[in-house]
């Protein structure tokens, strides 16, 4: 209680210990993922329920929204490759689960869904989970990748 800065030391670790490329790319990935989910769902909504395989593909590809979706994919792909080059897949993938929260928030804002207690509890659980993972080492594969001659990972380097 003496110093408010000491109470949540790990929160600042994400900014200070993880390279800027990584956390900045994570934010961009989460934002594009949210946009993709919303645009994709609205594109699929235009397809008749009875449509077959080809008809579904044709209907979606004929929508202008499809090109927005494509460009979002390109942006996400670029930042995802940059992220993968610098961090563990098992580190960054769970953190992008934050997009679940932003998608839920968008459905509240755009479709006026209720904010129930259960939903808030779920969001808090996701936040704690992401926070736990963000406090593990962001790259456990680096030594092998950096130089093949490096000593194999010591037990002391394990996450946790």
């Amino acid at each position: 209680m003496k110093s408010p800065m000491v109470r949540f030391p790990q929160v600042s670790n994400i900014i200070t210990k993880v390279p800027r490329t990584v956390w900045l790319s994570l934010i961009i990935t989460i934002v594009t993922e949210t946009a993709i989910q919303i645009v994709w769902k609205s594109a699929v909504l235009c397809v008749p329920q009875s449509a077959g395989f080809l008809e579904t593909v044709q209907t979606i590809a004929s929508r202008p929204m499809f090109y927005l979706l494509l460009s979002l994919f390109v942006v996400q792909f670029i930042y995802w490759i940059l992220l993968l080059a610098k961090a563990d897949l098992s580190y960054i993938q769970p953190i992008t689960a934050l997009s679940l929260i932003t998608v839920a928030a968008c459905s509240v804002v755009f479709f006026g869904e209720n904010v129930s207690l259960v939903r808030i509890a779920g969001i808090v659980m996701i936040l704690i989970g992401v926070w736990l993972i963000s406090n593990t080492k962001h790259n456990t594969m680096a030594p092998d990748v950096l130089s093949p001659c490096a000593a194999p990972g010591k037990p002391s380097e394990t996450t946790l």
Partner: protein
């Protein structure tokens, strides 16, 4: 329930294919780990045609499965089931990519999946 079964199966298939696609991209991206600039990282990674190609193939297959699944399932249901993706990713990262998936990451994804179910079903 039975009318949802094809949709649920499609979600499962797309979850596993997406996991494999991520592994392929990670393999390609690792080649760019030491590249100095973002452009150089992309250039080196994208030259791994074998990995990038199989990754793209996985994601196209996943996208088709997901599109058809969304036709019969609400996002609010498909998304929570899709969060099983995290389990697939953890297992593949551990087994294929040899990443150190510690207890914290397992507890973390358990909380995320639990939270996703609560958000989706509420």
């Amino acid at each position: 329930m039975t009318e949802r079964l094809p949709g649920l199966l499609l979600v499962l298939v797309s979850v596993i294919t997406e996991g494999l696609g991520h592994v392929a991209f990670k393999r390609a991206a690792d080649f760019g780990h030491n590249s100095p600039t973002a452009i150089a990282v992309l250039r080196t990674a994208l030259k791994q045609y074998k990995w990038v190609g199989s990754g793209v193939a996985c994601f196209v297959a996943e996208g088709l499965c997901w599109s058809f699944a969304l036709k019969t399932l609400d996002v609010s249901l498909a998304y929570p089931i899709g969060s099983l993706e995290l389990v697939v990713i953890m297992v593949l990262s551990r087994v294929i990519l040899k990443e150190q998936v510690g207890l914290r990451r397992w507890v973390g994804i358990t909380l995320i999946i639990g939270g996703t179910i609560l958000v989706g079903l509420s």
